[in-house]
Symmetry: C2
Subunit: 190 residues, 2 copies
């Protein structure tokens, strides 16, 4: 998606060789009009599927999922939680996700009543790096006996292997921008 690559170049910030910060339109401040374009593009890439749920993970995935849902006919958006709120008393599905950026392992959870057997699920997230969050979400879906029809990432860091891992596992993955290399303040796309 050319508009996205332009935006990453213009507004993103390369940190070291592994991190690109897009806090200005995605991870802290959200450019909602642009997220609407992102939603439209996900629909274009997944034009041939209908889904019962969009699954994402808090927090940055929520805006993306909400702006994409209208293009799929408003399926419910379910966001996996990274913490266990005291109000989360039901049974849940859980899967481990390691964050290489933060150096932490967290368990993401979805209450069982929001993922059902047979549900056709589209997984969406902001970044795909080592693929840990996306893989964890596929596990939640599988625990429910539901089916992953596709995985959409806004930005894939191709050099961190997550995309390859997911494709090799047989998942259909669409990344709207794939970064090949981050180096010395510059960002190169595949």
């Amino acid at each position: 998606m050319e508009a996205l690559k332009d935006k990453i170049i213009r507004e993103g910030q390369a940190v070291g060789t592994g991190i690109v910060k897009v806090d200005g339109f995605l991870n802290h401040q959200i450019d909602v009009k642009f997220m609407d374009e992102i939603g439209k593009e996900f629909r274009r890439r997944f034009a041939d599927i209908e889904v019962d749920k969009i699954l994402t993970v808090e927090a940055s995935g929520i805006g993306i999922a909400c702006m994409t849902a209208p293009y799929f006919g408003y399926p419910p958006v379910v966001f996996a939680k990274k913490t266990t709120p005291s109000t989360m008393t039901e049974d849940f599905y859980g899967a481990e996700a390691k964050s290489f950026t933060k150096g932490t392992v967290s368990i993401i959870r979805v209450a069982k009543k929001y993922l059902h057997e047979g549900d056709r699920v589209l997984i969406l997230d902001d970044f795909l790096a080592h693929g840990q969050a996306a893989l964890a979400m596929t596990q939640l879906v599988q625990q429910a006996g539901a089916k992953v029809l596709g995985i959409g990432a806004v930005i894939e860091k191709g050099f961190q292997g997550g995309g390859q891992k997911l494709r090799q596992a047989g998942f259909r993955l669409e990344s709207l921008a794939v970064i090949e290399k981050i180096d010395d303040g510059t960002i190169a796309f595949v």
Copy 2:
């Protein structure tokens, strides 16, 4: 907002005398089409103002803010963070918010570059209970030298005093549904 009250009655779950869970359409699973109606209603309530930013706090506020932004001409949505990610290296504004539900105190933060002096800000959140999160957000805005034009809450728990506190402090508050009492599994609105 009658449709909201109906939805809370139909799909919400009263817990004890203090908590109403709306995980089915707001806090875990999001009914995006309904959030669009919520956004429209916030615009109707704040029809006379124009804003430069919508400020909310992760995670549940994000969907609400994103679906409201189009009705205000797509101002940027800024979501305050509850944690300090390792990638958040800039200067930030910070304010304490106590969660009575979770029994914790957290600091919410916004990077200084996303709130500017003179910005006209609409604060949005899912719940208004004791008012801690909303008050913390007003402090972030004030630290930036920006101006709170309004505060919108989807659900106000009127009996927990936050609304009164905010109104007494001179803020313009619009709550789309005000709960008077939660008791024995029933929910009564003002």
